[in-house]
């Protein structure tokens, strides 16, 4: 298996990009990724592409990437794996290069969440993602999927809504430094706790916004990496975990088993453990989910996530900074792009170029969970080639 390097990354700002269609956003992110390559990269070097998009916008997804980015002569495949689409697309690109089949691949992701009315988006999407006879008619909107987990988590662990609020406050604080973040303002614990309720136990500030956006990374084989840069970021581990799809079949709702499975694969592939991670971008679609992620990823023991957030360990400056980009919470969450945008942030962190830099970061982890809570994808990046 060949080693795989990330040599370029780009993303659009995340937000309500009403003025941009999918056919605008995708080439913008891809163009920025291509332009970011230190020694330049000719588009004709790209031999294959993967495009992560949860819900196709304006039609045939693979064709839109090929057409809008001038990549009509290479294979392009759309990939969909719920909210884990982004990091799973990175995993597919990594496999393609590692296998020896291609030397240079493009991994892009995008979604136009705000292409439909804010009031109906999650409902429109629900019909596509839920069992039509058994759980769709109940009104199991996206936040409710996670709220069922977090309610039980709050019941069993010492964590409280205040701890959830600390996550939101931290990620908003981080997001202020990120010019591409959707919500660039500070909030207070009190604001979080008194905000209008969305889905109990999530108030407005516990929730990710609805976002449009695109992101892209370029992966190359170690054999050719010198053509492009002398400071690549290495894709050292990838993992993908699944779980029972229906909540009724998940024995323990205080954890996301897909994360545990994906992390086990990715850590094993990288030959490291959670203690080695210097910075992480984790899936904080709802504040309480970040707490559960700390435990599933091994950043702390079970039911001790509250201690990490209380002590500021996961803020930039702490022991294991999480979501220096602002996370889904402040940066935004266009599902197909989310995981790739996490890699965009970590690419910058590992090259010492981040807006909110974690000093001396050498190992980084990106994590998605979704689907509803039945899939997780993880990417481990490093400055270390081996």
């Amino acid at each position: 298996m060949r080693r795989v390097a990330m040599v370029g990354a780009g993303m659009t700002p995340f937000g309500e990009l009403f003025g941009l269609g999918i056919k605008d956003m995708v080439p913008m992110a891809v163009g920025e990724a291509v332009a970011s390559v230190d020694r330049g990269l000719d588009r004709s070097d790209i031999e294959a592409a993967w495009f992560g998009e949860l819900v196709p916008s304006d039609g045939f997804a693979s064709g839109i990437l090929a057409d809008s980015c001038g990549l009509l002569d290479i294979p392009v495949s759309r990939l969909e794996n719920a909210c884990a689409t982004g990091n799973d697309a990175v995993r597919h690109g990594t496999m393609a290069v590692a296998s020896g089949m291609y030397d240079v691949v493009l991994v892009a992701g995008a979604d136009k969440v705000r292409e439909t009315s804010a009031r109906t988006t999650f409902w429109d999407w629900m019909g596509m993602t839920r069992d039509m006879a058994w759980d769709f008619p109940l009104g199991l909107v996206a936040p409710a999927n996670f709220a069922l987990h977090v309610s039980r988590y709050l019941y069993e662990s010492p964590a409280t809504r205040e701890h959830m609020a600390l996550v939101a406050v931290k990620n908003h604080h981080h997001g202020v430094s990120n010019p591409k973040a959707q919500l660039r303002f500070e909030i207070t614990v009190d604001q979080v706790l008194t905000a209008p309720m969305v889905v109990e136990p999530f108030g407005l500030y516990d929730c990710t916004p609805q976002s449009d956006g695109a992101a892209a990374v370029l992966l190359v084989a170690e054999d050719v990496v010198d053509r492009y840069t002398d400071r690549p970021v290495w894709v050292r581990g990838v993992g993908l975990g699944l779980d029972r799809v229906m909540h009724a079949h998940k024995p323990d709702m205080t954890s996301f088993p897909p994360t545990i499975k994906a992390a086990r694969q990715a850590y094993a592939m990288a030959g490291i453990g959670p203690a080695d991670i210097d910075v992480a971008e984790v899936h904080d679609c709802f504040s309480g989910v970040e707490l559960i992620n700390y435990e599933d990823l091994g950043f702390c023991d079970r039911f001790e996530a509250y201690k990490l957030i209380e002590a500021g360990e996961t803020a930039v400056g702490g022991r294991i900074p999480v979501n220096p980009s602002g996370g889904l919470k402040a940066k935004g969450h266009p599902p197909g792009a989310t995981g790739i945008a996490q890699c965009y942030e970590l690419f910058a962190q590992l090259r010492g170029e981040a807006n909110l830099q974690v000093d001396g970061a050498r190992w980084a982890l990106a994590h998605n969970v979704g689907g509803p809570t039945a899939v997780s994808a993880i990417t481990i990046l490093s400055t270390e080639r081996a």
Binding site: R119, T120, F122, W123, M126, G127, D131, M132, A133, W134, D135, F136, P137, L138, G139, L140, V141, P143, A144, A147, L148, H149, S151, R152, Y155, P196, M197, V198, V199, E200, P201, R244, M246, H247, A248, H249, M253
Partner: protein, 395 residues
């Protein structure tokens, strides 16, 4: 002869009348009352008669969900009858043993009552019927109601003349279909029981009241200018009342119109298991699956499975209350992952009969038959969680 009676009132409303929850209709209320009437052993039921003027569907079928909710076989005869209190009274009078007569209403006080007719218990005999026309209220085939609104005309030219035509009433002990004051004025009777409904179910609520007293007597049912009179014989009857005290209905915000089309293929595959609450047991390792699966959750067996009825007592494992507007649904509403008895089966359901957000993890309750949604004109029935409380009180 009346073997047993079941009654049901929605929890919402006031002492002057109940209103159905958003997930209730004539079929769900009929199931609740019918289950009360069937709670004790008795003559096997081979016929169900459902009387209402508010049947959810005129075509497409109320019968199958009704039988499923009542745990009756698909082969049981179901007759749906459009009618009011006199029709319900006559349906009991004319019922053969093995008939379950259920009447349910939405307007004019929501509720349902069911009479199980068999070979034991007090007899019901007809004393007469008069059918006349004074249509101060009409409802056309599309359900549109037009009211003439002249109560004195109805009372004096409608009811009074029909009663005169009926002949001597005897000492009437209950009157269905009229406000108590009007009933007492028109019949000369005193101390008549107040009934919670005025439509078809009122006749069966009247029988329940009289049967509980065990003395029997003439029972009168009135609907506009049509009247029916029966004699209920003496003797005790088991009356199962599912009548929680009324509470005012919480204010909810209706969602914008939305409809994701039903898949009738998916509806069909789920129907029996979903409406009858039947899981499948793996014949290799014994694990229960709900809904049924091709491959066992535990051992991976793909062998035939055996149906098992699930318990209906439930405990909240986890809960989420949705406050944000959701198209097609009124908010707030609560979804619950409920653990069913000792079955190790969990089921995702909505909360019913209680204010959204009013239950917590560990709370006990039971699953009840409700209309979960209406999609593309198709009522989608299933189960909902209602918190433990004073429910079925046997008289």
């Amino acid at each position: 002869m009346i073997e047993a009676i079941g009654t049901y009132l929605p929890v919402w409303g006031s002492a002057t009348g109940r209103v159905p929850g958003e997930d209730e209709d004539v079929v769900t209320m009929a199931v609740a009352a019918g289950r009360g009437a069937l709670a004790d052993p008795g003559t096997p039921v081979d016929t169900v008669v459902l009387i209402s003027r508010e049947l959810p569907l005129l075509e497409g079928g109320n019968g199958a969900p009704l039988l499923a909710g009542l745990d009756l076989e698909l082969t049981v005869d179901v007759r749906e009858e459009i009618g009011g209190a006199p029709a319900a009274l006559e349906a009991v009078t004319n019922a053969r043993p093995g008939t379950l007569v259920i009447a349910a209403d939405v307007q004019g006080g929501a509720g349902a009552a069911a009479v199980r007719c068999g070979s034991a218990g007090p007899a019901v005999g007809s004393l007469g019927r008069v059918t006349r026309s004074l249509p101060v209220v009409t409802r056309d085939a599309s359900g549109t109601v037009t009211e003439y609104a002249d109560p004195r005309l109805l009372r004096e030219r409608g009811v009074r003349r029909s009663l005169e035509r009926l002949g001597p009433l005897g000492s009437v002990v209950a009157v269905a279909g009229l406000a108590r004051r009007d009933a007492e004025q028109l019949t000369g009777a005193e101390g008549l029981p107040a009934l919670p409904t005025t439509g078809a179910s009122a006749a069966l609520f009247a029988l329940a009241e009289v049967a509980e007293g065990a003395a029997g007597g003439p029972v009168l049912a009135v609907e506009q200018a049509t009247v029916a009179l029966v004699e209920l014989g003496p003797g005790p009857v088991a009356v199962h009342r599912d009548e929680a005290p009324p509470r005012s209905q919480p204010v909810t915000r209706p969602g914008a119109h939305a409809d994701i089309a039903v898949s009738l293929a998916a509806y069909d595959r789920a129907f029996d298991a979903k409406l009858r609450l039947v899981a499948e047991r793996c014949t290799t390792c014994g694990t229960l699956a709900y809904p049924a699966r091709f491959r066992c959750l535990t051992c991976g067996s793909e062998a035939e499975t055996a149906p098992v009825a699930l318990p209906r007592d439930a405990v909240v494992y986890t809960v989420a209350t949705i406050h944000v507007p959701v198209p097609g649904l009124s908010t707030p509403y609560t979804v619950i992952l409920a653990e069913l008895g000792d079955s190790a089966v969990r089921l995702l359901v909505r909360l019913t009969g209680a204010e959204a957000g009013s239950v917590g993890i560990g709370d006990r309750g039971r699953l009840v038959f409700r209309r979960v949604a209406v999609r593309t004109g198709v009522p989608d029935y299933g189960y909902a969680f209602t918190p433990e409380g004073p429910a079925e009180v046997a008289a």
